[in-house]
């Protein structure tokens, strides 16, 4: 299958005045043409930083891509100049942000803001731009598109604003769309509508979608393949059914167990104990070791490599063929179901 985006061994560093932190360390994943890739993980694990790096939107002065490649159609984005990047943004790659309430400019009309990608990337007359915007607003299911185009953001509800954001991302018919927690800030009923819309749009426009979320049920609903991130690393990658049937990493197992549907008969909701380590607290060994129910000696001293079984990849010592032997002898109930 053709890969539209390949992120290889990405390492990102922030410098906050005195100390350097690396919230992204050796991230590896790819997006196939036409697929929806889910990126899941608790907040703070580096999902947004990863997606901003693909858009070239990381703060220029305080951040740095230390190593790795971001290949978009075989072009390395991590080496582009700002000028080259500008031609891609909102054109071939576009992004939807988490906060629909603050992501639109309060002093410009919807039409003015939506005209920007067309103005920057397409040679179109004013009337043609307006026509295109109205068509796209209709496509994302906004009623009264002809009026909304002349309204200000504060006149729209959160769900409508997110639809506007989607149409903004859609205008130039990008090949890749990144949606960073597009429904987290919305009501549950609106959430379902927006996800449905994204699904339809992706299918109709023949594009690839990266859907970032901390909610596994959204992944189950929407995605073809899933990347699980934890504390700045990719700890597991699998096709969506495989991931739910056979999660290999104890972190993924914990996430699945904490889904409400798996908690129906229990009085207390399951949740993973402990907290995600901050980028400054990362020690040697496995990043999940301090919260892992199956932690053993090696986990604390050596960082596990990625073990691959077909298309299923996980970064856990339990997947080391040798370690599996040890476990089977040591415990009667195996970790891997």
């Amino acid at each position: 299958m053709e890969k539209i985006l390949q992120v290889k061994d990405l390492r990102i560093q922030f410098n906050n005045g005195k100390e350097n932190i690396q919230p992204i360390r050796g991230v590896y994943f790819h997006v196939n043409k036409g697929e929806t890739l889910g990126i899941v993980g608790e907040s703070g694990c580096g999902k947004s930083v990863t997606s901003l790096s693909v858009m070239g939107l990381l703060p220029q002065k305080t951040s740095e891509i230390v190593s790795g490649e971001i290949l978009f159609n075989d072009r390395d984005l991590s080496r582009l100049t700002e000028r080259e990047f500008r031609k891609l943004r909102g054109n071939e790659i576009s992004m939807i942000f988490q906060e629909p309430m603050t992501s639109l400019n309060p002093v410009f009309t919807i039409g003015k803001q939506l005209s920007e990608p067309l103005r920057q990337h397409k040679k179109m007359s004013k009337s043609k731009i307006r026509e295109t915007i109205i068509a796209v607003l209709k496509q994302v299911g906004l009623p009264r598109a002809e009026q909304i185009i002349d309204e200000y953001p504060h006149q729209l509800s959160g769900g409508m604003r997110q639809r506007v954001m989607i149409s903004l991302a859609l205008l130039c018919q990008p090949k890749l769309m990144i949606a960073d927690e597009p429904t987290t800030a919305l009501d549950v009923t609106i959430q379902a509508q927006i996800l449905e819309l994204l699904k339809n749009i992706k299918r109709k426009n023949d594009m690839s979608l990266i859907l970032i979320t901390h909610d596994l049920s959204v992944v189950a609903e929407m995605c073809d393949r899933v990347v699980v991130m934890y504390a700045g690393e990719v700890v597991e990658e699998a096709e969506v059914n495989e991931l739910f049937d056979q999660p290999l990493h104890p972190y993924t197992q914990g996430l699945i167990q904490s889904l409400p549907s798996n908690n129906k008969r229990k009085s207390k909701l399951f949740s993973i104990q402990g907290q995600v380590p901050k980028p400054s607290e990362i020690k040697e060994g496995c990043v999940f070791a301090n919260r892992c129910p199956f932690v053993f000696g090696k986990c604390l001293t050596e960082t596990p490599p990625s073990f691959q079984k077909g298309k299923h990849i996980s970064k856990c010592w339990l997947q080391d063929p040798e370690e599996m032997e040890v476990k089977r002898i040591g415990e009667s109930s195996t970790v891997i179901s």
Binding site: E82, R89, F97, L104, N105, V107, Q113, Y152
Partner: protein
């Protein structure tokens, strides 16, 4: 909106009446002026007679009541010196004050907004650091000192500009610069910090993600967002410029309300002082009022409601 306007209008009236009251009592408590207007060898009876004529012999609350009743009708009495009507005299000085304040305001905006925007755009650069240093200096320098320095160089040494007076554009230059200096510094700092604030907003990131080039992002988008707070500040400062040009007017012998106020205070010419205070307070309050309305207008969030 109408509610809002009415409420603010009531505030305007209260502020003006309060200012008049405070100044009235301050002036009266500082002693009565009769002695100044009579020859040094005037007899006790003559002084008493004169006081009686002016009404200064009555209890102060009665004087106050009478003053207020007349004041709200626009009657501030006559100059104790020249016997001219106080309010018309003050009003005749108003155009000069306006001319000075407005030109200083325009000058400072023309300098401050581009400077602030550029400073924010190139933050922490050498340019930014110099501009920040200059603005700190600009806000710290007292205007009488700056005025005297300017007179020394441009009038006394170089002899290319007049040191005072009014009548032509040339006369305006030095007082305008003096009065503008503080505002330039203040507006530049404010523009810079507001722009920096706006540039961090989510919606700027959205515009950037649409492929908008940085120049346009700063000059078109962020600037318009910053204009709301900037306009508010400018409108507020116009009041300060108009009322606070006193020192500049005195230094440059500029025939405005400020200078008249100062002279009348020295001469204890109370009716003129009170009429002047009335005009200055009224302008200040009305400009604040307009600033609020303007703010509501520029901000669609308030306007559409």
């Amino acid at each position: 909106m109408l509610d809002f306007i009415i409420k603010r209008l009531i505030q305007v009236v209260v502020v003006v009446l309060l200012a008049l009251t405070v100044v009235f009592f301050l002036i009266r408590l500082s002693g009565d002026p009769t002695a100044l207007f009579l020859p040094p060898d005037a007899s006790r009876e003559q002084i008493e007679e004169y006081r009686e004529m002016l009404g200064f012999d009555r209890p102060i609350y009665i004087q106050y009541g009478e003053f207020m009743v007349n004041a709200v009708q626009g009657d501030f009495g006559q100059s104790l010196r020249s016997k001219e009507d106080a309010l018309p005299l003050v009003l005749s000085r108003l155009p000069a004050t306006f001319q000075l304040a407005i030109s200083a305001l325009i000058l400072s905006l023309l300098i401050a907004i581009p400077l602030g925007v550029l400073s924010a755009y190139k933050r922490n650069s050498v340019f930014d650091r110099i501009s920040v240093a200059l603005t700190v200096l600009g806000q710290a320098v007292p205007s009488f000192w700056l005025g005297l320095i300017l007179i020394y160089f441009f009038a006394a040494q170089l002899n290319i500009l007049p040191s005072g007076g009014a009548g032509s554009i040339v006369h305006l230059i030095l007082p305008m610069i003096t009065l503008a200096a503080y505002s330039v510094a203040r507006f530049t700092r404010f523009t810079r910090s507001t722009m920096l604030d706006v540039l961090r907003k989510d919606y700027i990131r959205t515009a950037k993600a649409s492929g908008v080039p940085t120049i346009r992002l700063v000059g078109r988008y962020a600037l318009k967002n910053s204009l709301i707070p900037i306009i508010t500040l400018v409108a507020l400062d116009l009041g300060t410029l108009l009322g606070g040009a006193v020192i500049t007017e005195v230094v440059f012998a500029w025939p405005g309300v400020g200078r008249l106020l100062m002279q009348s205070l020295m001469n204890r010419d109370f009716p003129i002082v009170l009429a002047g205070v009335f005009i200055v307070a009224l302008i200040y309050a009305v400009i604040n009022f307009i600033a609020d309305i303007l703010y509501a207008y520029v901000n669609p969030q308030i306007r559409v409601k």
